[in-house]
């Protein structure tokens, strides 16, 4: 059972990873003036909540299936996201974007790292689970 769960989460985190790569590409587009800050923020702001929700859903799955290690690994980011939403600081603000860009970029790189580590961890757990299944 947990094998199938991790298969799902592997694909899921891969999707999140690509999402973050898209964000980083958008940042460099903005820096090299291929996109203006207004369009940039409109575009990215529509992805912020879906991304947070997707990550929240992942954490929820781990909670429901009782995968405590995986849940623990995801909790800090979940808390970070929730905190941002509570402070109303999760949206990209076009008026301040060039001032806050370095911070946003750092966050995006961190998330790329986080999702890729997650990806390999879930992959390992998936294989481990399937191997364990096949032994019986």
């Amino acid at each position: 059972m947990s094998g199938w769960l991790f298969l799902f989460t592997v694909l899921y985190s891969a999707g999140l990873l690509f999402g973050m790569i898209f964000v980083v590409i958008m940042f460099s587009d903005l820096e090299s003036d291929y996109i203006n800050p207004i369009d940039f923020c409109n575009k990215l702001n529509s992805f912020v909540i879906p991304e947070y929700a997707a990550h929240g859903f992942l954490a929820l799955l781990f909670l429901l299936f009782g995968q405590w290690t995986a849940l623990l690994w995801n909790l800090p980011l979940l808390a970070w996201n929730i905190n941002k939403v509570m402070n109303n600081a999760h949206m990209y603000d076009a008026t301040e974007i060039f001032r806050s860009l370095p911070g946003h970029q750092k966050e995006a790189y961190f998330k790329i790292g986080f999702y890729s580590v997650s990806f390999f961890y879930y992959l390992y757990r998936m294989i481990a689970a399937f191997v364990a299944d096949s032994e019986f």
Binding site: L30, D33, N36, A94, F98
Partner: protein
């Protein structure tokens, strides 16, 4: 890429078009343009028989070339035009001159060569020859043919060359660093009036001898006037590197207008798009120019040596862009996305009960009415609209040619629509009669209005809808907190959180509406000015977002009451001035700099549209912007150039580019960096930085930041410039040109905008922060470090008319030690004037100035000082008048009488301007300096 300019038939010019990435070919005589390269044959045939200007131009052009680059054109030019060949020979007789000024190369040799050539009127050596003869057209003009011009008496020319040489020598002089001990030298207010450290460019870096070839500090100044070559040197000095730009400042009396280049010949670097300026080099005998920023070699436009107005050869050395730092170009169509827009003013007038009761509505409409003639409208194109609002919107239809106007009420404020497609936004000239009639009636119309509430957001949306196709200026006059519809705000003022870490939250925008709407405005070239009048909380911090991002300005009149003449006068004066000032519309600003320098962050009222492009829908006069500069790679050139370009439409319907060029020398020497630092620019930058930090962090952080910066600077100075090195020192050393910086920092820390206090209402703070980030240095310095005069014992010439208008008394240091119990003092910060009356003031003084029998009868508070029939009163009035008029900007300071034993709040307010005194928890100057000293010596606790 080979420029097609060389292969062009005569009379044609090629210009690179950045938007289409191809050359645009222009027939210079007719102005005809085309994309395809012109064929040589037909054009030549066409022109030949008529003998029209183009061939002549061609000849003259070649003549210029022949004189300079015989080698390039060999016999060809001579054969083509024998007369000019002869002249060419004449020129050739002079020793052949090599390249022009190459500051990057051996400066000494160049300099020597320059001196030798000084006397020779060779076209290439622009500077000396220009100087020696002062005749604009001598190269191609009739004088050119006359031999005697060459045989000018050698002596005076040499003398001039010598003079010039001395001027050049100035550049090689080292900056002298004078160290001052802050502990023993108290601040001297007069030092603030000194000009910034001189800019000493290396010799021959400028091709123009004009004194205005480098930017005036009032337009463009840098925190350091000798740029360190590496970022490590800069960070070692701990000085901030920033530019303070006031591109559109008002002109002083008697100052000439910014020179205009109207022939549409705009030479720009092909690579970095820099505009040609006095710091480029001409090479190849003047056929090409080398960009001073990226070293790219560019073609000189053929029209550079052609006077299009008189249709005869012109003198390029007389062109304004090669002689002036601040110039304006008339922009051709490539610089327009649409034909120049007319100026549009939309007035949104709050007519709710409070607004009407305070008399704001009546004063505002009367002011508009009185200033209708002053609104810039030379072409008769300017449009206005008036929308009143309480909880509904009242539109006014103003048909042409009648005095009738009809009111249209829209009470659906959730989905704002325009009740009528036409006649709402009308031309001032055409609908003058109905406009005047309406403005006369609005006050009465809403006299009985008892509705409380404000639909400012919907009113903004309506005004925006009305003018969005054109763009322009929305002027909002509001007396209450917006309460209904989009952008409604809540009263979030909470006295409990004042002075705590949460206070900075009150300075941030409460509703996203004012940011998103600002972006929309910026997109459609709409700028918003806010006039706020409320006696209670109005959330200035949120409302000020709109002017902030749309390059407008916030004006705040707390507890406005037109019943007091002072209030009405102040508002009417400032509002009237605002209406009368010419504005720049549809502007974008970009600052370019030499290679290795990057504009890192921007502060001021605008919207940052891309990494280095600032969008400003309307540029008001006298607004200042600060830009932080980063040194990205080591600079190898002896001097660097910064260039601000503002592409804009004037309110008279002409597309123009204002270009301001600032050249600064570079240095590898730390002491030169210190000696060339400009304390006024530094504090202007710190003010911007502090306000930014108070919004992103906490108010306390912003104070710590500024204080820490000062400590770092002093530490760096002590370790590298004084003998004590890293050890403890009994002195607190700083270079002489920075000795006012500590007291300015103290003034900034004590400014209402960021002062540590639990008493300052957030509205007052937010307004003060808006001022701190937008005032030009001339206004900002008194706002941070007020001026203090003693009037009762002012010298006899003070208050009388001198050479530069009214003579002001000498300013005193800002400390109450200077108070005398029998005296009359004046303290002013450019926004308010206080007349401080000592309690033992003799009755004669009170009688002379206030026309009252004694001190006891005198009442404190806002007042108007009437000139009386005695010389002292007239002198005091002259001083007050001078203070109100001497600075830029629309501000008309209130005059308060403060009695020594009068009401405590007013007295404390006046005394809070004496920043060298101790007040509450804030340190006196002495305490501040000694805490600085402790910090610098590594001891001492936290805080200041």
């Amino acid at each position: 890429m080979s420029a097609p300019a060389d292969q062009l038939p005569p009379g044609w010019a090629a210009e690179w078009d950045a938007t289409h990435q191809r050359y645009l070919f222009i027939e210079t005589a007719s102005g005809h343009t085309q994309w395809d390269p012109p064929a040589a044959g037909p054009v030549g045939l066409e022109n030949a028989p008529t003998g029209s200007p183009p061939p002549v131009h061609h000849g003259k052009r070649r003549q210029y070339a022949a004189g300079q680059t015989q080698a390039y054109y060999s016999g060809d030019a001579a054969a083509a035009d024998p007369t000019y060949a002869a002249q060419g020979a004449g020129l050739q007789a002079q020793p052949q001159q090599g390249q022009l000024f190459t500051p990057g190369l051996a400066v000494e040799n160049q300099f020597a060569a320059q001196q030798q050539q000084g006397g020779q009127p060779s076209a290439g050596a622009g500077q000396p020859s220009y100087y020696a003869q002062g005749e604009p057209e001598y190269i191609n003009g009739p004088a050119f043919n006359q031999q005697p011009q060459y045989g000018q008496p050698q002596a005076p020319v040499d003398a001039l060359a010598g003079q010039f040489g001395q001027m050049g020598m100035g550049g090689q002089k080292q900056f002298q660093l004078y160290t001052t001990n802050l502990l023993t030298s108290p601040p001297e207010p007069r030092d603030l009036q000194r000009p910034p450290p001189e800019i000493r460019l290396p010799p021959n870096s400028c091709i123009s001898p004009s004194p205005t070839a480098n930017a005036d500090p009032s337009y463009f100044r840098s925190t350091i006037n000798a740029i360190p070559t590496t970022s490590s040197l800069l960070s070692k000095s701990k000085l901030p590197l920033a530019l303070i730009i006031t591109p559109y400042r008002s002109l002083n009396d008697g100052e000439e207008a910014v020179p205009l280049v109207s022939d549409a010949v705009i030479a720009r670097c092909r690579r970095c798009r820099t505009y040609i300026n006095p710091y480029v080099q001409f090479i190849d005998g003047g056929n090409r120019w080398r960009c001073c920023m990226c070293n790219m070699t560019n073609e000189v436009p053929q029209l550079f040596d052609w006077d299009q107005i008189r249709n005869q050869p012109g003198d390029r050395w007389a062109r304004a862009e090669l002689n002036q730092s601040c110039i304006e170009f008339v922009a051709p169509t490539e610089y327009m996305v649409r034909p120049p827009q007319p100026a549009v003013y939309v007035f949104l007038i709050d007519v709710s009960h409070t607004a009407v009761q305070s008399g704001m509505v009546a004063t505002a409409t009367r002011t508009i009415l009185e200033n209708l003639d002053r609104i810039p409208d030379e072409e008769g194109r300017t449009k206005v609209a008036i929308i009143c609002y309480d909880v509904s919107l009242y539109f006014f239809s103003l048909p042409q040619g009648t005095t009738d106007s009809s009111m249209l009420v829209v009470s659906d404020i959730d989905d704002v629509f325009l009740p009528k497609p036409t006649d709402l936004l009308v031309n001032i000239t055409e609908s003058r009669a109905s406009l005047e009639a309406l403005l006369g009636r609005i006050g009465d119309m809403f006299q009985e209005n008892s509705i409380i509430g404000s639909a400012m957001g919907p009113a903004l949306q309506a005004g925006f809808k009305l003018m969005a196709p054109i763009g322009g200026k929305i002027i909002v006059l509001s007396s209450t907190l917006p309460s209904v519809g989009a952008g409604a705000l809540k009263n979030r003022e909470d006295p409990k959180i004042l002075g705590t870490a949460k206070e900075s939250g009150l300075l941030q925008a409460a509703s996203p509406f004012y940011k998103t709407f600002a972006i929309e405005c910026s997109r459609t070239q709409v700028s918003v000015d806010m006039f706020l009048f409320s006696a209670s909380y109005q959330d200035v911090a949120t409302l000020a977002c709109l002017p902030h991002y749309t390059s407008g300005q916030t004006y705040y009149y707390p507890a406005f009451n037109a019943g007091r003449t002072e209030d009405a006068m102040k508002f009417a004066h400032e509002f009237g001035e605002l209406l009368a000032t010419p504005i720049m519309l549809e502007a974008v600003m970009r600052v370019r700099a030499s290679r290795g320098l990057r504009m890192a962050s921007f502060h001021g009222n605008f919207f940052v549209r891309s990494t280095d492009l600032l969008a400003m829908p309307a540029v008001p006069q006298d607004q200042s912007y600060a830009i932080e500069v980063q040194i990205e790679e080591a600079i190898t050139t002896p001097f660097v150039v910064f260039q601000t370009a503002v592409l804009h439409t004037t309110c008279y319907g002409e597309r123009r580019i204002r270009v301001i060029t600032l050249a600064l020398p570079t240095t590898t020497n730390l002491s030169e960096v210190f000696a060339s630092a400009d304390q006024v620019a530094i504090i202007t930058f710190f003010a911007n930085k502090a306000v930014e930090r108070s919004l992103t962090h906490k108010l306390e952080d912003s104070r710590d930041y500024v204080f820490q910066k000062l400590v770092e600077l002093l530490v760096s100075y002590k370790t590298s410039m004084t003998s004590s090195g890293a050890g403890a020192s009994a002195q607190l050393a700083i270079s002489d040109n920075l000795k006012m910086l500590p007291v300015l920092v103290l003034g900034l820390l004590k400014n209402v905008g960021i002062r540590q206090s639990a008493q300052i209402p957030p509205d007052i703070r937010a307004y003060s922060q808006a001022l701190l980030t937008s005032l030009p240095s001339q206004l900002l310095i008194p706002y941070i470090y007020p001026t203090f005069y003693s009037l009762h014992n002012m010298p006899p010439e003070a208050g009388t008319i001198g050479e530069d208008g009214v003579v002001l008394p000498p300013s005193l240091p800002l400390t109450s030690e200077r108070f005398e119990r029998h005296g009359l003092f004046l303290i002013e910060d450019g926004q308010t004037i206080f007349l401080y009356v000592g309690r033992d003031a003799v009755p004669q003084l009170i009688q002379d100035v206030f026309d009252l029998p004694s001190y006891d009868v005198l009442r404190g508070g806002k007042t108007t000082l009437r000139p009386l029939e005695n010389p002292f009163s007239q002198r005091v009035n002259a001083v007050v008048q001078k203070i109100r008029e001497m600075r830029r900007g629309v501000y008309y300071p209130h005059l308060y009488i403060v009695k020594d034993d009068g009401e405590p709040p007013l007295r404390l307010w006046a005394l809070s301007m004496l920043i060298q005194d101790r007040a509450d928890v804030l340190p006196s100057y002495q305490q501040f300096i000694s805490s600085l000293k402790d910090k610098v010596n590594g001891a001492g606790g936290t805080g200041y």
